[in-house]
Symmetry: C2
């Protein structure tokens, strides 16, 4: 529980402006100080913020289902609070109903605060939550985010309305931020791609000697590790693998800690074959569950496995890279490989560097959202810079149109500024 003690700075409780793609931003560092500081603008907002905190308990755990939170309230009394369980088990609302009943509470005329529209009954492994809520005699359901699913979206709400259950909305923008991977995946129908990097004011992700490994401070890094559970996979360029020897796990995350992400190495020239044993040890570090897969994207994707990698055959998946610029195809290949092994799609990929891979994706308009940590100093240098032009490129080209991204949230984490942006392709925010 060492990570929790990193907080205790109440200035980090940035309330509204601090709720972003990663949830309550300080929450990832410590949960203890938050609830009393929520501004009770009104009762619905208060209880829905509890439901959002509850949803964050399911980070990573509920995959491929969204991490939903539900709170059952009667008057000013909490009957139960719950989040989505592991895939195949209860959804948040069903879990909350079960928990309230097993505690001996009558949920008739109670209120249910839920961060995402209850499912209405198309597919899924569970009985529809809307039906369960109606059967329980619930009096009112407060929903934060709408389900944008083409067929299932709106179904739960309609069922509740037909059964004369009162319906209200609260904290929709905040819930849209938290559920962004789920919502955006419904719209895109391909894995969503999230950039994450730490940079200085002059855009450097590292110095020219690749020595300044950590631009951001320890609390920002703990937050990043927590975020690694939220997304299904981490992708890095081969330079990052060879220089930083990353393990790409959520090991320094605050609680809860549900999973390590899958690993994706973008390596057109198959340089992983030349990696030192230290690099490979970190990359294939075993965990209690055996460890996630390593997807190796290389132009030689169909080649025989090099001798140095033979020992990792069980956890190494070769994926052929495609013509540069056809990222959609690569991400789809990755999702297909994932589906083959796990039975469901790869919904989200966190790109953690280096500057070259991030800049490539940025130019190709492939970043759906970004978590950017800015250190308010200037490093100087000529390499390892976000948006850096390659020799001979037209210097006047706008790499990222200024208005292509919505600034979703900012927060101060010690000496780092966290900036979260979302592509304007996704219009979930009013």
């Amino acid at each position: 529980m060492v990570k929790r003690s990193l907080l205790s700075d109440t200035r980090l409780a940035i309330l509204e402006s601090g709720f972003g793609l990663g949830g309550w931003i300080p929450r990832a560092i410590s949960a203890t100080a938050l609830p009393p500081q929520i501004p009770v603008a009104d009762r619905d907002r208060y209880w829905m913020s509890k439901a959002l905190l509850e949803a964050m308990e399911a980070v990573g755990l509920s995959s491929p289902n969204p991490s939903v939170g539900a709170v059952l309230v009667h008057g000013d009394k909490v009957l139960s609070q719950a989040s989505t369980q592991v895939y195949g088990s209860f959804h948040a609302e069903a879990m909350a109903l079960l928990s309230a009943k097993s505690a001996g509470f009558d949920v008739k005329t109670a209120e249910c605060y839920v961060t995402l529209e209850p499912c209405g009954g198309l597919g899924g492994k569970q009985a529809p939550c809307a039906d369960a809520l109606i059967a329980s005699g619930i009096g009112r359901v407060i929903i934060a985010a709408e389900d944008p699913h083409q067929k299932a979206g709106g179904l739960g709400t309609r069922k509740l309305r037909d059964a004369s259950v009162a319906i209200a909305r609260a904290l929709t923008n905040e819930a849209n931020a938290w559920h962004f991977p789920f919502l955006a995946y419904q719209q895109k129908q391909k894995p969503i791609v999230i950039g994450k990097w730490a940079q200085t004011l002059d855009g450097h992700l590292a110095d020219d000697h690749d020595k300044s490994q950590w631009i951001s401070g320890p609390r920002s890094r703990a937050y990043t590790h927590w975020l690694r559970q939220k997304y299904d996979a981490i992708m890095v360029g081969i330079n990052t693998v060879l220089h930083d020897q990353p393990r790409l796990t959520a090991r320094d995350s605050a609680w809860p800690r549900a999973r390590d992400p899958q690993k994706i190495i973008f390596d057109p020239k198959a340089r992983l074959a030349t990696a030192s044993s230290e690099v490979l040890n970190n990359l294939f570090e075993a965990t209690s569950s055996g460890g996630p897969l390593v997807y190796w994207c290389t132009e030689a994707g169909t080649m025989a496995l090099p001798a140095s990698l033979e020992v990792y055959r069980d956890r190494l998946v070769l994926v052929p890279t495609v013509r540069e610029g056809n990222w959609d195809e690569l991400f789809q290949s990755l999702s297909n490989e994932h589906q083959k092994r796990y039975g469901f799609e790869l919904q989200s990929i966190l790109i953690e560097g280096g500057s070259q891979l991030l800049t490539l994706l940025m130019r190709a308009d492939q970043l759906d959202a970004c978590h950017i940590f800015v250190r308010a100093g200037v490093l100087g240098g000529t390499r390892n810079r976000i948006g850096r032009l390659e020799r001979g490129e037209n210097p006047t080209r706008d790499l990222m149109e200024r208005d292509d991204y919505r600034l979703l949230a900012t927060a101060q984490i010690d000496d780092d500024v966290l900036i979260e942006t979302v592509s304007r392709k996704y219009d979930f925010w009013k």
Copy 2:
């Protein structure tokens, strides 16, 4: 009052984390929405935040005195609130006492919330505020920031204590941010230098064609104009003058609007002599008060005035630039020239660009604090970048040591992120 209507976005009320060098960051855009949103952590913090808002009313007006705010309270009743008047007239505490008495209130046993330690009687044009408070029979004085003046500091507090007036502290960090120019000037005894710029994530202040004049949005620009009153002078490089044709006034500021800053042009090669009439018209734009002076820093500082500038002789002050690197000497020369004309020192200079001048000052460790607006997009380009290395420079040199600056505040203003940093030379924050 058009500027006020720019706000109405309550999300900008960023509470604690939104109070920085420029005061309540949203306040500069509109005052109307704020007071009810202040978190009443306790009574002293509440009333002191009122005093800080009052202090902001004196922005620019009180120069060369600090812009202090004072609130007199009895029980839960406000007897008066006031800020420092124009130089030579009342300080905030004296004004508040006068205002309460003229309204028929008895201030005996009342409380006085004041943002800066009351003066104790060394020099100054006014009778010591500590004496006036004691004579009024005040019961308790709550002070936010201490006066660090070598001789005068602590004197007022001592007098109050000797007269058995209860003393307390509240919002010290916030008041230190607001009074930073005054506090830092006491410590440095030379003009303090504040960088201000708007940049993209990759550090560009403009595109390579110098065409993207405004990186930040309209509300950030209105805030910048408000800030221009806080500092005594604005300094820009000659490239900025020739390309942007700036007027360097506070014309788009929210209310209150007290003054336009002095103007300083850094122009070693005397290129201002070649400026177009549009450039000069903007620079010497007349105001009702005749307009501020333009200090022209050039290597030819002692030369005869070029013909094109002869017409501006009354408002143009030639200041010889010194050897590169000896910025202290230049700033002292500027302050001396200012003293000659106005009878007091130049206490603060806001550097508004361009990237070359800001980078030079940054490398020379001359920036005492910075207001940085970051647009969360990437522009691309090779010029107009903060921290950009000149040809032949050592790329591995750290231009700004990461830990030389304290991150003081961050705020979201529409699609811009405001980042405020303060040099760690100034240890006013705990």
